[in-house]
């Protein structure tokens, strides 16, 4: 075992100086940590590995003991088959449309409110800000039924509007707060210089604040994309006909219809999960930085 080998390396039988034993002990400690952390990592990642491996298995090879991790033979047909068993291309497109339009609204209107709260002085500002923050703690279930009734009255049931329009009104208090915190770190002198040059608040927002806040905007965008991509209860309530479904609902419907076809089910799940994982990997920096700069840690 590598563990034993490096252990011996780290603590040779004849110890010459205290420094060497100390380093040896530190190395041993590191090694133990690696063992513990990778054991947990394997447990956490195993379900996702199983997801992808099942999506490439023959139906007969899925439920075996012990579980086989590498499919043999690899069955790529699962993907076209699964995607044709239900209009999955349609679901994918629907999810994209909703996610993009809702995210766009969120970024625009949340950044507007955040600019106002961070930079402009107006009466009752702290009152509105406090009110906005307090809605962070409001359970969304309380507003669900009247909002449903409102949209039903507007004849918006079975359209994408209920999943998009509300997000053009500030997005979410969480995002407004996040952006405000970031805007506060942009030097005020920039605004003042622009104002002396005769720039209006709209120009300052558009040409100074927004370009400088790109990392924060990217963070909000990623959070928002993940939320809308994964959203379940809203499409469940509002989208009824199959051609309007999002992937989340399609996948759920799929599991009802083909509960025994795990290879298809997992192929469809992979199609839903993979874009998010790719997005996360390509924008990981923004995601983690975003959490840092919000002062989400409470300080």
């Amino acid at each position: 075992m590598t563990a034993g080998a490096s252990l011996e390396q780290a603590s040779p039988p004849k110890v010459r100086s205290e420094k060497i034993t100390q380093r040896g002990r530190a190395l041993l400690g590191d090694l133990l940590w690696h063992l513990v952390l990778s054991a947990f990592a394997i447990v956490l990642i195993a379900p996702l590995v199983w997801l992808i491996s099942t999506s490439l298995k023959e139906p007969s090879a899925i439920f075996t003991l012990p579980p086989k991790w590498i499919p043999d033979p690899i069955r790529w047909q699962n993907y076209p088959e699964a995607l044709n068993a239900q209009p999955f291309a349609r679901f994918f497109l629907n999810t994209m449309i909703i996610t993009i339009l809702a995210t766009l609204g969120t970024v625009i209107t949340a950044s507007m409110a955040a600019y106002s709260f961070a930079r402009l002085r107006f009466p009752l500002r702290s009152f509105w800000f406090g009110l906005m923050i307090s809605t962070l703690m409001l359970p969304s279930i309380v507003t669900l039924i009247p909002t449903f009734i409102l949209f039903r009255y507007l004849k918006w049931i079975d359209t994408f509007y209920p999943l998009i329009v509300p997000f053009w009104f500030g997005g979410s208090p969480f995002f407004i707060f996040l952006l405000r915190q970031f805007f506060l770190t942009i030097p005020l002198e920039l605004d003042e210089a622009a104002r002396i040059d005769g720039a209006s608040n709209y120009r300052i927002y558009w040409q100074i604040i927004l370009p400088l806040a790109k990392p924060a905007l990217a963070t909000v965008m990623i959070f928002s994309i993940i939320n809308h991509w994964n959203e379940f209860i809203l499409p469940l309530i509002y989208l009824h006909s199959t051609d309007k479904w999002t992937m989340a609902i399609g996948l759920q419907g799929f599991s009802d219809l083909y509960s025994t076809q795990w290879h298809w089910l997992m192929a469809a799940s992979t199609v839903m999960v993979l874009p998010l994982i790719i997005l996360f990997f390509s924008a990981q920096r923004y995601y983690l930085e975003g959490i840092h700069m919000t002062g989400l840690t409470g300080r």
Binding site: Y202, W229, F232
Partner: protein, 308 residues
């Protein structure tokens, strides 16, 4: 003063101020409209509907406290409340504790720690629908990963989702899969603790344990508190997992509050009853949030404030 007030500069400044006031409101206008139309309005409406008998197809009828009376005599209401309380009060603290342990491990000075961070976080971005299907397999009594692991340890298989006694613990275990989100937030908090504090403690002869209790925990307490508040609110509204995995079974063991509410509202269209349920949940959440804020004086430490 009255004279200077009318000088051109003054007038210009006043109009600038007025402009700023107006712009301030224009910029928050979308949010404000959203607040009234999608938050405040529906809150009031939901309160009013809870005093009505309304099944969507029939016209709404004022029924006073009848819905609440029915609610408080409904054994399923109490059962769903119990199930949810179980999930909240056992699940949330354990989840938070694990997230804290993970965050502290991720704060170690180890080679390749970033890779672990990413791996631990990835489950958190997996769509609930997909992860619910995955956990259906993990808890499969014959072929699932959970029982494979138990057997490997020489333990007997369990009927996780079929046994009413085990279903709720199974849901809590499932929630551990997504500790990554809280882990990342707590890690950001840990990174924000000035190293000088630990150095000073070391000079004073404090061990790791003393440093943890006297520096890490107090400095991290605002982040823990913030996470606790939001996690409790979210856990009270647990829905999707039980909707997909168990449909509330076995024997209603995972009939969580919002699942029951959803069925009342969107399967039985009993909007009055469901609204009463929503308001009761809202008051419960409000109460627990208030209690947590009150208790926070005792354990949450804010750097800026001086403890008495």
């Amino acid at each position: 003063m009255a004279v200077t007030n009318s000088t051109p500069q003054r007038r210009r400044r006043r109009s600038l101020l007025w402009r700023e006031n107006l712009d301030g409101y224009i910029f928050i206008l979308p949010w404000m409209i959203g607040f009234f139309v999608f938050v405040a309005g529906p809150m009031v409406a939901s309160f009013l509907i809870s005093f009505m008998d309304w099944e969507m197809v029939t016209p709404a009828r004022w029924s006073g406290l009848a819905q609440y009376e029915r609610l408080f005599n409904d054994s399923r209401f109490y059962l769903s409340l119990y199930n949810t309380a179980y999930y909240v009060f056992i699940g949330v603290p354990l989840h938070l504790l694990l997230a804290l342990l993970a965050a502290m491990a991720m704060n170690l000075n180890l080679r390749g720690i970033r890779i672990y961070r990413t791996l631990y976080f990835i489950p958190s971005i997996t769509p609930v629908v997909a992860s619910s299907l995955l956990w259906l397999w993990i808890f499969n009594p014959e072929f699932g990963l959970a029982n494979s692991m138990l057997n490997w340890l020489g333990l007997p298989s369990l009927y996780w989702l079929q046994d009413p006694k085990l279903a709720k613990p199974a849901f809590i275990i499932m929630s551990f899969w997504t500790i990554g989100g809280q882990m990342v937030i707590l890690l950001a908090g840990l990174k924000g603790i000035p190293p000088a504090l630990y150095e000073a403690a070391q000079i004073d002869g404090a061990g790791n344990w003393a440093s943890f209790w006297n520096i890490t925990l107090p400095m991290l307490s605002p982040a823990i508190f913030f996470n606790l508040i939001l996690a409790v609110i979210a856990a009270f509204q647990v829905f999707t997992q039980s909707y997909i995995i168990t449909g509330g079974g076995p024997e209603n063991a995972t009939l969580f509050y919002v699942l029951y509410l959803y069925r009342m509202a969107f399967e039985n269209f009993r909007m009055g009853y469901a609204s009463a349920m929503a308001w009761v949940l809202f008051l419960i959440i409000l109460l627990f949030t208030y209690i947590q804020f009150r208790l926070s004086d005792r354990w949450v430490f804010y750097e800026g404030s001086v403890p008495d």
